[in-house]
């Protein structure tokens, strides 16, 4: 018996704004001038924060952090598409999205200077903490999505961000599979920046796209130009609409490139090619957005300068604010081991404080 075709799948690709800032009018999202300028300003703020934090890190004023330069279209396009009722569960490379969701940049810096106090209160703005373990956020986000539906929360979904490396993790498979089985209201947003530290996308998976992995779990996947904020916005908006209306999960693969080091501890010259990095720097999402806004008559060079100045002031103020926090309760970690008190913890707290007091006496 000849083999017959059982089923055929395809993976769509979306780009709305090309590198020259020319928009495909048919797919241009209906965003107001204010929204477009807010989107661009948020992208600029993310870039400025990244560059400043790199300087601060080199000066020893903050610790290690993951750079996000070049990823602004993904973070900001996604955050703009979200409703207040949606939850954001990021990885560690989306500071611009976090700020759009209401996180304070000063606290973000404080967290990167080694204090839990810098973590955002997740209950306000529906913004989950930073996830350092690659992929661990994925099953948790799916459980949150299940809870949203169980609690009959209307127009609410979870958007979970992951990198290309995370797609190799077991947590990715298990989370995607649970989401498909449960038809959970969740959007998986993969920032495919083509590098997991030094391991390239080609070494990570033999799949032609990451988007196609969704098909195996029974829900749609789409690949978008990750340097095109309008494409990211539109894909995320559509995926959230699907989630809100009970149509289940979506995987969005946003293709970009990590033009900076992985973290401040990394030296990408050991594995990336200068020419490739330079070619991707040419595709800067900020420049693309600026060209688009200029063509629409929404941004003049004076407006650009003014925005740059305002963004720098915001970052300056955040640095001043985070460096003004100098008093930290030394035994705060003992407050948050359990929600109940117990001798084991309280005896160790007393012992710890007594040791600190002795050291202060000798100091």
């Amino acid at each position: 018996m000849p083999r017959t075709e059982l089923v055929r799948f395809s993976v769509p690709y979306l780009q709305i704004l090309d590198q020259s800032g020319t928009v495909d009018a048919e797919f241009e999202p209906a965003l107001s001038s204010e929204q477009l300028l807010y989107l661009y300003r948020s992208m600029k703020l993310g870039r400025e924060a990244d560059e400043r934090m790199l300087k601060l890190q080199r000066q020893g004023r903050i610790g290690t952090f993951a750079l996000a330069t070049g990823h602004e279209a993904i973070a900001c396009g996604a955050a703009l598409a979200m409703s207040e009722t949606d939850w954001f569960y990021g990885s560690f490379r989306e500071p611009a999205a976090r700020m759009m969701r209401g996180e304070s940049l000063a606290k973000y810096m404080l967290m990167h200077n080694g204090y839990e106090e810098g973590n955002h209160d997740p209950q306000s703005n529906r913004l989950m903490p930073f996830s350092v373990i690659v992929g661990a956020q994925i099953p948790m986000a799916v459980g949150m999505a299940y809870a949203l539906r169980y609690q009959e929360q209307k127009d609410a979904a979870v958007i979970v961000v992951l990198g290309d490396g995370a797609t190799s993790e077991g947590d990715f498979h298990e989370g995607m599979n649970f989401a498909g089985v449960w038809q959970a209201p969740v959007v998986f947003l993969c920032q495919n920046n083509q590098w997991a530290i030094s391991v390239s996308r080609q070494q990570q998976t033999r799949s032609e796209t990451i988007a196609q992995k969704a098909i195996a779990y029974g829900f749609p996947g789409i690949q978008v130009d990750g340097n095109d904020p309008l494409a990211v916005y539109s894909a995320v908006k559509e995926a959230l609409d699907r989630a809100h209306s009970g149509q289940g999960p979506t995987l969005i693969e946003a293709v970009t490139y990590r033009v900076q080091m992985h973290t401040t501890s990394d030296d990408p010259t050991r594995y990336q090619h200068d020419a490739e990095v330079a070619a991707w720097r040419e595709r800067d999402p900020l420049r693309r957005m600026a060209l688009y806004l200029e063509k629409k008559g929404l941004l003049t060079s004076a407006g650009e300068e003014e925005m740059t100045r305002a963004v720098r002031e915001t970052v300056d103020a955040a640095v001043r604010e985070f460096e003004s926090w100098t008093e930290f309760k030394p035994d705060a970690p003992f407050d948050h081991v359990f929600g109940t008190t117990h001798d084991v913890i309280e005896e160790q707290r007393a012992e710890f404080l007594a040791e600190l007091a002795k050291e202060a006496d000798h100091g």
């Binding site: 839990e116 106090e117 973590n119 209160d121 997740p122 209950q123 989950m128 903490p129 373990i133 661990a136 994925i138 099953p139 948790m140 986000a141 799916v142 459980g143 949150m144 999505a145 299940y146 809870a147 949203l148 169980y150 609690q151 077991g170 947590d171 298990e174 989370g175 599979n177 649970f178 089985v181 705060a332 970690p333 407050d335 948050h336 081991v337 359990f338 929600g339 109940t340 117990h342 001798d343 084991v344 913890i345």
Partner: protein, 326 residues
């Protein structure tokens, strides 16, 4: 009052907590339609529906990860790992997330979930179905670890675990599931997590155990008491972390002698921590070295040899007599 075995008592705790609080969900492999491979969740899905008693895909990290997500949203999931030997696949979610979310967010986000898992040997099971690894979980700050020993405390501690504000690993001694029955009150009964139980008072020696080992420990104490005039105090630890070191130390101060019986391998185990607690709080009261009866530091043996390896009443009784005679 009904006489229930441990599986029935555990089922009762979940059934009553689900009836009391709509935020309580049960999830895991085969827990719904099948009622669990040990029947611990029998009848729950037909009473509460498939949305609250979830037959999940076969994936331990997925079960624990999604349960953490639900708990962070205010639900109280009771997730089951079919055998504790499979729980290591979910250790990343437990250590990296469940244990830390409270401290990470300074108490703003909490994980009130229970992770039930049958543990321990003695039922002639396949490899990975007989481990006793409570110390692995108890070593994680932010996780509470409870091991009941009988139907009544299993029911009362599970109900307390479901209401607890923190993630609780609840390890059920599978060889005690149907081994005996106890009177279990029909109405609500809760026991405090983090508190040991003095099962029998005495003045000559403190015998400490927990979980499935409580039965052979009690038998050993009885045998020794029949052979000689020794009054043995028996402590059921119940919560491995945070451990009730005060009760243990006060008992040892009184008796001056102590034997610990555990099913788990010896080194870096719960018994190690108990000895450290005695060292900290009651060293100068000791009349004899603290003696341990444990599994050796070998991998859990296939069941052909398991009765040689899991300490039984005779081995515990010998340790008691050697310690009394020291």
């Amino acid at each position: 009052m009904a006489k229930l075995n441990m599986v029935q008592a555990i089922n009762l705790a979940m059934q009553q907590e689900m009836a009391r609080d709509r935020d309580v969900l049960v999830m895991g492999e085969d827990v719904g339609k099948n009622g669990g491979v040990f029947r611990a969740t029998e009848g729950l899905q037909s009473q509460f529906g498939a949305e609250r008693v979830i037959d999940t895909p076969l994936a331990e990290a997925g079960i624990v990860g999604t349960a953490i997500g639900m708990a962070m949203m205010g639900l109280r999931p009771v997730a089951e790992i079919q055998f504790s030997g499979f729980a290591f696949l979910a250790l990343g979610q437990l250590e990296g997330q469940a244990a830390r979310m409270r401290s990470r967010t300074q108490g703003k986000l909490t994980v009130p979930m229970v992770l039930r898992m049958p543990y321990g040997g003695g039922v002639r099971a396949l490899e990975h179905h007989s481990e006793s690894r409570e110390a692995t979980f108890a070593h994680l700050p932010g996780i509470k670890v409870v091991l009941p020993s009988g139907p009544r405390n299993a029911r009362a501690l599970l109900a307390a675990a479901i209401r607890d504000p923190d993630p609780v690993v609840f390890m059920e001694p599978k060889r005690s599931y149907r081994a005996f029955r106890e009177e279990v009150p029909d109405g609500e009964e809760l026991m405090e997590i983090g508190k040991a139980d003095i099962v029998q008072t005495g003045t000559d020696l403190t015998l400490i155990s927990w979980g499935a080992m409580m039965r052979p420990a009690l038998k050993a104490a009885e045998d020794v008491a029949q052979r000689r005039n020794a009054r043995i105090e028996i402590i059921d630890v119940l919560t491995m972390s945070p451990m009730d070191k005060h009760t243990i130390a006060e008992s040892v101060k009184k008796t001056g002698r102590c034997v610990i019986a555990q099913e788990a391998p010896r080194s870096l185990s719960v018994s190690s921590e108990i000895i450290a607690a005695i060292n900290d709080k009651a060293l100068m009261y000791l009349e004899a070295p603290v003696k341990r009866v444990t599994y050796p530091d070998v991998n859990t043996v296939y069941f052909g040899r398991e009765q040689l390896y899991i300490p039984g009443p005779e081995r515990i009784a010998r340790a008691i007599e050697e310690t009394l005679d020291f």
